[in-house]
Symmetry: C2
Subunit: 400 residues, 2 copies
């Protein structure tokens, strides 16, 4: 592990060592939001660093979202990472690099989310949820092992970690026809999100290799879901309002470059994929994931249980010639291992609400008002971790 002159970055269990350098958007009292990089318990002020002539962001760092920096392309990503590694190194670094204490900063959404797509790529999750929605015989739809299944989500509802989430009202199936009331089956979904870093044109397709090169980085993602709204609305056009109450992402984008040492295989293939979805090298990363409720860890899993990688999902997204744009957010889908304590949603963990779990001595089937859900993720290196930082939200009561 390479050390930094910022001592807190050398903590072997810290999220933000010199090997990580994730990007975000922050502000400090009264000043406008701008781009930064997390290092230990501090944030490199990229706008100030560029103003001081220490780094070149082509004027994009003083903006309130990373989209323009990301749009500069892979060479700019690599050059910025190399320069920051140099400036922050314990030996030969530059302690004049402007930083602020993370404790003094407010973190914002790191990107303007251009469009948001969510997939469904854990076989365990797809099967478990399929059983609950459609019974065991139709649980996994016929095409599931042949293509990444996804739906377009709602970009406007993506929020940064810490934003309170309001329990939605919804039209639900009642005994004597539909009723209007607060959702009773509010759930989380433990996911990661890939940030698209390059555009593609209408009518063009992107190969899996090209897709991999287009992904700037990853965040943690909680796709809050109202299961009772979902059950009533989702046929035949898919989830809509059940998934639009809010989607929380972590404030720091961990770059593909930082995750490269953790590249690994995903779940074994049931059948060969069509050529347009085949990967020439492993497409997953060994990332330890967990979620907690009110401070109690409820489940642990790993990104490597997934069946389709973000690169495969992005390639499939362009199958029809659909244009992709910088700032598009692709949710991996809920990440669940095979066991109950590896499930990324309460729907699965409680068998559709039939088998409650205990949280700090209290019984839960779904999320109650005032509950806080947090996602956790890190890749374990030799003496360091590549961490994702916080991804939390508290549930507020419905506005009736």
């Amino acid at each position: 592990m390479q050390h930094s002159w910022i001592e807190s970055a050398n903590d072997p269990e810290g999220d933000f060592p010199l090997a990580n350098l994730p990007y975000g958007v922050f502000s400090v009292a009264g000043e406008p939001p701008r781009c930064g990089v997390a290092i230990g318990d501090r944030i490199v002020d990229l706008a100030a660093a560029e103003a001081a002539g220490l780094i070149d962001g082509q004027g994009t760092f003083d903006r309130p979202a990373l989209n323009d920096f990301i749009a500069l392309g892979r060479d700019a990503w690599a050059a910025t990472r190399a320069r920051l590694t140099e400036l922050l190194a314990a030996e030969g670094g530059n302690p004049d690099l402007p930083t602020v204490a993370m404790a003094d900063a407010t973190l914002h959404l790191p990107i303007r989310v251009t469009e948001y797509t969510d997939f469904y790529a854990s076989k365990n999750h797809a099967f478990n949820v399929g059983v609950l929605f459609r019974g065991p015989e139709n649980a996994l739809t016929a095409q599931w092992t042949h293509m990444p299944i996804g739906y377009n989500g709602r970009a406007s509802s993506v929020v940064v970690s810490g934003t309170p989430i309001r329990r939605p009202m919804g039209q639900l199936k009642g005994e004597d026809g539909p009723v209007w009331r607060p959702s009773q089956r509010l759930d989380l979904e433990l996911e990661m999100g890939a940030i698209v870093g390059a555009d593609s044109a209408l009518g063009d397709r992107v190969s899996v290799e090209q897709a991999e090169a287009m992904i700037f980085g990853y965040v943690l993602l909680n796709d809050w879901s109202a299961r009772d709204v979902q059950a009533w609305e989702y046929q035949p056009l898919g989830p809509f309002q059940s998934k639009a109450l809010g989607t929380t992402i972590s404030p720091w984008i961990v770059t593909t470059a930082a995750l490269e040492p953790f590249r690994c295989e995903g779940a074994p293939r049931v059948n060969p994929l069509l050529p347009y979805l085949q990967e020439s090298r492993p497409g997953f990363f060994d990332i330890n994931l967990a979620w907690s409720m009110n401070g109690q860890v409820m489940a642990r899993t790993n990104y490597n249980v997934m069946y389709y990688s973000s690169a495969q999902q992005l390639a499939h997204h362009t199958e029809s010639g659909c244009p992709m744009r910088v700032g598009d957010l692709l949710g991996t889908g809920t990440i669940s291992g095979p066991d109950r304590d590896q499930t990324g949603a309460l729907l699965e963990m409680t068998g559709g609400g039939k088998d409650p779990v205990t949280v700090n001595g209290e019984s839960r089937t779904f999320i109650q008002d005032g509950d806080t859900v947090a996602l956790h993720g890190f890749a374990q290196g030799d003496g360091y971790r590549i961490g994702f930082g916080p991804c939390t939200g508290i549930i507020l009561p419905a506005k009736e």
Copy 2:
């Protein structure tokens, strides 16, 4: 009918009389795109008119999309319409108002489409397509008469009339597992699109009355659809790549103000709606619609056959607290009357491809390469029409 000093605006069968004044974005040779208003066979150059001190757009008219003007709000919409009506009137108008010939202009997408949602609100269409996808017993899902069913579409694939559309490749169901080939069942969908003109916040809901006041105007919309891709992919998360090959909209946004005299009831209700979807006044407009292929009119229908209005769809869209933003585009869903020559999609017209139609002497089940599809729409006033202008696209062969 009020006359204009622009003579072509006084044609009783023209699309753009003084009573219409639809907004668009245009450019003329070498100059950047800017905002304009269609009048007869000319376009009012709003940027030049503002520069000349004739009208006040608060500096938004020289931009390449109408979003910033629309965001000024309802009072600005009303003031601009009143001022243009005054400037263009035959009596008391101002012939110094800068205009360009429509024939000399290139028309662009009128808005940056923030997000795109498509609904499914013609009972005839929903039933007919439901029979083909799921059989007559499950054709209309249980919630259909209780709530507007919609899905999030892909904003990046929305294009302006005249943009060629490439036949998509797709993963399709084959005899011995999935195959990769050009879509064989390429279809149109005759729709209208509502343009959202105001923001709402995360966690807030919008009433039907508020929603109505938020809609800036309407366009024609063709949601090109690859039916074979759709059939294979759509369970359980809805249409995805089958609808992302391109969605064509007409270049002129006909304002709600211009359509107000044509307000009318829609299709009769099968059951009462929950209060959050009830309208206090009729929510539809009497708009004659048609579509043609290669110049031959294939079907005629009317917007007033629909079951849910755009205002109801927008209200439902915020049921969960989903934020709406200026520039959101809401497709009405395919507009089909009960008869074959009133259907807004070939899927319905040909009974899923089993019963071909004749187009200029040639047989068609779905769209072939080189075919041009055009949508047509106008509201018939007393001696004038409120027209929508062109909404056309030609199909290019697939890139294999």
